[in-house]
Symmetry: C2
Subunit: 227 residues, 2 copies
């Protein structure tokens, strides 16, 4: 079994989730960056479409024996990694706790992230012709709606400690941290979500989360506002 | 362990997914309908918010011992049901096959469904003031984009037979069937997706899928165009 290759983009939060999983499990992996903006988007070109017809990142290619398998959808990739490289586990042992962790992950992955995906924002600006201001308001709206209900939930759940499930990194933290990173990138104020901010802050102090941070990836670019 | 209660809405495709899972596993359950339209939406009222602060359906309440647990997020609920009521399993035995099934499910649950969620459509019409025609085009666009890549994938994957994974109902079919139902409801032409249509058609011939169909639920209403 050779090292897997992650086809992703430094700023893609779905790629970021998978990078954290790989780092937590100390799985050596190669990165094959797919630039989502340059040249109209490398993800839409034939070279990447041959790997993932969806044109979405990330994909993980993984050779087992003489076969190369292509895995898509970040949460499916993470579940696969958790099954094939079980240590440390990314889900709790008890079914009800697993359901809790999965539901927090899905609140981010289904309710917040897809609505603010690059292709959705492009449709809003391009096809519907909304203004930059409307686009920023849209972006904030879905993060604020999602974070408000997540904060309400996490602020009272006894399972929350330094992380979403006690002090053990789980799938939930893997989804939460990149979403907080996204929110900060788009200057969404986070004062109303102290539990979320505290959890993300603690997670970022852990080496695996820190190593997966977008600015440290091989395809990272300086932020547009910097010199 | 008492019978679980599903808090859902007959037309909600996330509720529909969970109904199919419950039916496949022959789990007796009660339904507590939450009307998403009437009175500005029962899901936004305190009674339902007390169950799920998100105000999203479905939720599943489940009493184990003297505790009542609230489960949210359809895919987390289905995973939980699959773990607690393992027969018949909704995921294949082999990790790579599980990743395949999960990724098909997530293509629907993350890439198609959230962007066409009721609250997103409301924001487009209300806050952004788009026309009904633009709203229909939006709806079609995301289904067509998602179904096109799913069709490309399913039409060549050797694991596809009468269903997404051989002839065994899996999480993938549970997500696909309600999405096809949605597409039909909004008159999205499906001729370009013969594999998807064939799989959904076969699934609907199975009793568990048929029993979960929206029009057969206790809160079902006749379609707006009917007499």
């Amino acid at each position: 079994m050779s090292d897997p290759t992650l086809h992703g983009y430094f700023r893609s939060s779905a790629s970021y989730r998978v990078r954290i999983a790989l780092a937590l499990k100390a799985i050596p992996f190669d990165q094959s960056p797919v630039h989502l903006v340059r040249d109209g988007g490398e993800h839409l070109k034939p070279a990447y479409r041959a790997i993932n017809p969806d044109g979405l990142v990330p994909s993980l290619t993984h050779s087992v024996g003489d076969q190369t398998h292509v895995l898509t959808q970040s949460l499916a990739i993470i579940d696969y990694l958790d099954e094939v490289y079980p240590e440390p586990p990314l889900l709790p042992r008890i079914a009800l706790d697993r359901a809790y962790v999965r539901s927090v992950a899905l609140q981010v992955a289904c309710d917040i992230h897809p609505v603010n995906n690059l292709r959705v924002l492009k449709y809003l600006s391009g096809t519907l012709g909304i203004t930059d201001e409307q686009r920023s308001a849209w972006y904030r709206h879905w993060i604020e709606l999602g974070f408000a209900s997540l904060e309400k939930r996490l602020s009272v759940d006894p399972r929350v400690a330094t992380l979403v499930f006690g002090d053990t990194p789980t799938l939930a933290d893997l989804c939460l941290v990149p979403q907080v990173w996204n929110a900060r990138r788009f200057d969404v104020p986070l004062d109303a979500y102290p539990t979320i901010v505290r959890i993300a802050g603690h997670a970022m102090s852990l080496p695996a989360f820190a190593a997966a941070e977008p600015s440290l990836q091989p395809d990272a670019e300086p932020p547009p506002h910097s010199a």
